[in-house]
């Protein structure tokens, strides 16, 4: 068999697949066969490399050349030029904002350079369908170490040293949680992985499950050994079909290799994992609701205490952690708690995976040491706000979080600092917003979400958020009063104090935080019936400047609702009754003839 000369790694994360990765791979393989290169060039599909906006991406080794925005046509050129003739295809390389071309962005770009990958160490490196590749990256070494050399107390002590806190949102110290579950008495115990990542804007758990499923299998098995559990469940959202598929495959392989099942690695310890699939309910991300759902019931939260560590699944002691938390466990075991604790800052140790989305140039996943500032994250790693627009705010923590205004972007990101700013790290979603986004609209948006997703069990969450939403709708329709603003504040306080579970208790957060930092926007809506960001439909109109319009018809052609009329070379008109203010026309007008006005 000829020796492999090149390995091509293609990102097969969800985002790249949605951008056409499958046809790129097929085209690549066909071309390789055509030139009889298929035996000397190995093609590997890997998990999310993080830079979602550049997809589909591939890296050619040993050179490490990074090609981006591929499609089924231009990938042929890479084979013909790069592999056959040794010439790099410049136009498919990463091009920086100033036009400079980078062959190896992974080493040179701040997006990659500033990252410290622990939880995502294998993403973009291993083939998620190959257990051998995982093992080659020290996979299952931690499990072996735990079973052969450590007792459960040692594991807990390393976790405590590491300072790791739950990455799902609440940030509870992981070592302590494991200790509670270990100490709980019961003949049967369970281990659960919460993979019901529902926060809008967070997608690291999906990427980890799709790109490195074995790290979660390994960590859950270590957890089971530590707390004394024999069965485990992973509860995955049905919205993530690829994650379910890859994780199922990992389970099968782990069983074949003796890392799961009876007498793991020849020891007395037996453990197995089953996948349970969600069915579209945000509340199931709350741990007690998730437990109810695994039990085959409606996913409604239970009153805490008792906590799952004492009384969880089927009333038995249950350890429950989220995907990213688990992904950190094997490296902590291998390198020690002190090693992990050297990253980050007091109270927020280690690294955190953030999902950059919204109005930011480099969207995607980044793993950075805790304590990094928002400025570094958004400007250096994220490449700033597109289109020369001004950064307005960053939404973190999903529906339980809030907005951080531009003036606070030098704040280091830690559990405590974000709390002081009235938001949370949550699961790590960061939605960047620019001057075109209305903060009242954002608050309304989250309330719509909460109202829809409230499980309906307790009145403050079910009815209270509904009343808040009605008020916010009135305000964005231009019918709000100053009294409404007061009512919003009052309702917020009541709901936070009296809701049953964490979701209800934090549901008013998006409103509270936007009111705190963007009070003037609320006032503009209420007092002047004006939307400063020109976003709220009822308070905004789109107008065509007849002087500037040359009648190119571009706007009329893109209007999805046919609100624009006019003949070629004559100024066009827009019907405000039909217009949905979607802004498509604004984007295509090359003459600056279309603008939004408020009121």
């Amino acid at each position: 068999m000829p020796a492999v000369e090149n390995t091509i790694v293609i990102c097969a994360g969800g985002a790249c697949i949605s951008a056409g990765e499958i046809s790129v791979k097929e085209s690549l393989e066909n071309t390789l066969r055509e030139y009889a290169l298929d035996e000397v060039v190995r093609v590997v599909e890997t998990g999310c490399m993080g830079a979602c906006d550049l997809g589909p991406i591939m890296v050619i080794y040993p050179e490490g050349v990074f090609y981006q925005k591929l499609d089924s046509n231009n990938v042929k050129k890479v084979v013909e030029e790069h592999l056959l003739k040794g010439r790099i295809v410049k136009e498919l390389l990463y091009t920086g904002p100033t036009g400079e071309v980078k062959e190896k962005p992974q080493e040179e770009l701040p997006f990659f350079k500033k990252q410290v990958k622990i939880a995502t160490r294998n993403l973009g490196v291993v083939d998620p369908l190959s257990i051998e590749e995982y093992i080659a990256r020290d996979g299952y070494f931690a499990l072996t170490k735990v079973i052969k050399e450590m007792n459960p107390e040692d594991v807990i002590s390393e976790l405590k040293k590491s300072g790791l806190r739950g990455r799902g949102g609440a940030g509870f110290p992981t070592g302590l949680k494991w200790e509670f579950a270990r100490k709980a008495t019961g003949d049967i115990k369970y281990v659960i992985c919460n993979a019901d990542e529902g926060d809008p804007g967070a997608f690291m758990d999906r990427a980890i499950l799709e790109g490195d499923p074995h790290s979660v299998v390994e960590a859950m098995t270590i957890a089971a050994y530590t707390v004394g559990a024999s069965k485990g469940f992973i509860y995955v959202r049905a919205e993530y079909p690829l994650a379910i598929e890859r994780f199922s495959h990992a389970l099968k392989k782990a069983r074949e290799y003796g890392f799961l099942g009876e007498n793991i690695l020849g020891s007395e310890f037996s453990f197995d994992i089953e996948i349970r699939i969600g069915a579209g309910a945000f509340v199931c991300g709350e741990e007690t609701a998730l437990i109810n759902s695994i039990e085959g019931k409606r996913g409604i939260p239970r009153v805490k205490p008792p906590y799952p560590a004492q009384k969880g699944l089927w009333g038995k002691p249950t350890l429950i952690n989220n995907v990213e938390t688990y992904a950190n466990i094997p490296p902590i075991i291998l390198h020690g708690g002190d090693w992990f604790a050297q990253f980050g800052v007091e109270g927020s140790r280690g690294t955190k995976v953030f999902a950059l989305a919204g109005k930011v140039n480099n969207t995607g996943l980044v793993e950075v040491p805790m304590g990094i500032s928002l400025r570094e994250l958004i400007y250096e790693i994220g490449g700033g706000v597109p289109g020369g627009k001004k950064l307005k705010a960053v939404q973190t923590g999903g529906p339980s979080g809030g907005c951080i205004p531009e003036k606070h972007i030098d704040t280091p990101i830690t559990y405590d600092t974000l709390k002081e700013l009235g938001t949370i790290i949550g699961s790590g979603g960061m939605i960047v917003m620019d001057e075109d986004d209305c903060m009242v609209d954002v608050a309304k948006f989250f309330l719509e979400f909460t109202v829809e997703e409230s499980c309906g069990q307790c009145t403050p969450c079910r009815d209270g958020t509904k009343r808040m939403l009605e008020i916010l709708e009135r305000i964005t329709e231009g019918e709000g009063t100053e009294e409404d603003l007061e009512t919003l504040k009052e309702l917020s306080e009541h709901i936070m104090k009296t809701s049953l579970c964490g979701l209800g208790q934090t549901a008013p957060q998006p409103v509270m935080s936007t009111m705190r930092y963007f009070w003037d926007e609320y006032e503009a809506h209420v007092k002047e019936k004006r939307c400063p960001a020109k976003k709220c439909k009822a308070l905004t109109r789109i107008v065509i400047d007849k002087e500037k319009c040359v009648g190119c018809t571009a706007c009329a052609r893109v209007c999805p609702v046919n609100a624009i009329t006019g003949s070629v070379r004559n100024p066009h008109e827009i019907d405000p009754e039909i217009c949905t203010r979607c802004g498509s026309c604004l984007e295509v007008c090359r003459f600056g003839a279309i603008s939004k006005v408020s009121p």
Partner: protein, 167 residues
């Protein structure tokens, strides 16, 4: 479809899922997923009656679960279920126009199915593909970086494919 047929099918599915599970009890949601998959996007109401007998649960307990989760439907849905993400990252990157285009292009609102039985439009919580927002899922396939034009194109491609399949 007669009750007897449903009974036979659901009983088979029930037994199979039970065998595949680590814990025999209470895997109602897994069973419902399997039933929905079998019937293609929906769960016939008769299935609930059968499950009542098989599980010993009351009908209301089963309905409670069936109606709580948005992904389960007791009404027949289209061959293609379009789940469009309406979360904030999609919203700030032009999601509203995409949703508008979907509704216009299909001629239906959320929860409805096109007359030809091809498409059902549903809103979805975050699909976790925020890096390429706005996003939608058609059955198990994700489409990112959407624009109104791209939406029209995707729908048209599926319609075209279906038309040629019929021929």
């Amino acid at each position: 479809m007669s009750f007897e047929e449903v009974k036979k099918t659901v009983t088979e599915i029930y037994e199979r899922v039970k065998l595949e599970s680590l814990e025999e009890r209470d895997n109602l949601i897994n069973i419902l997923h399997a039933i929905q998959e079998h019937y293609g996007n929906y769960i016939p109401l008769e299935a609930a009656e059968v499950l009542k007998e098989l599980t010993g649960k009351s009908l209301s307990e089963i309905y409670e679960v069936l109606t709580f989760y948005t992904m389960f439907s007791t009404r027949r849905r289209g061959k293609y279920i379009i789940r469009v993400c309406k979360s904030l990252p999609c919203h700030v990157t032009g999601g509203a126009a995409v949703i508008e285009a979907l509704k216009n292009g299909l001629g239906i609102d959320y929860g409805q199915t096109t007359e030809d039985g091809l498409f059902t439009l549903e809103e979805s919580s975050c699909l976790g593909l925020c890096g390429v927002s706005p996003v939608m899922l058609i059955n198990d396939e994700a489409y990112g970086n959407l624009t109104p034009e791209k939406v029209f194109q995707i729908i048209e491609e599926i319609r075209e494919r279906e038309r040629s399949d019929v021929k």
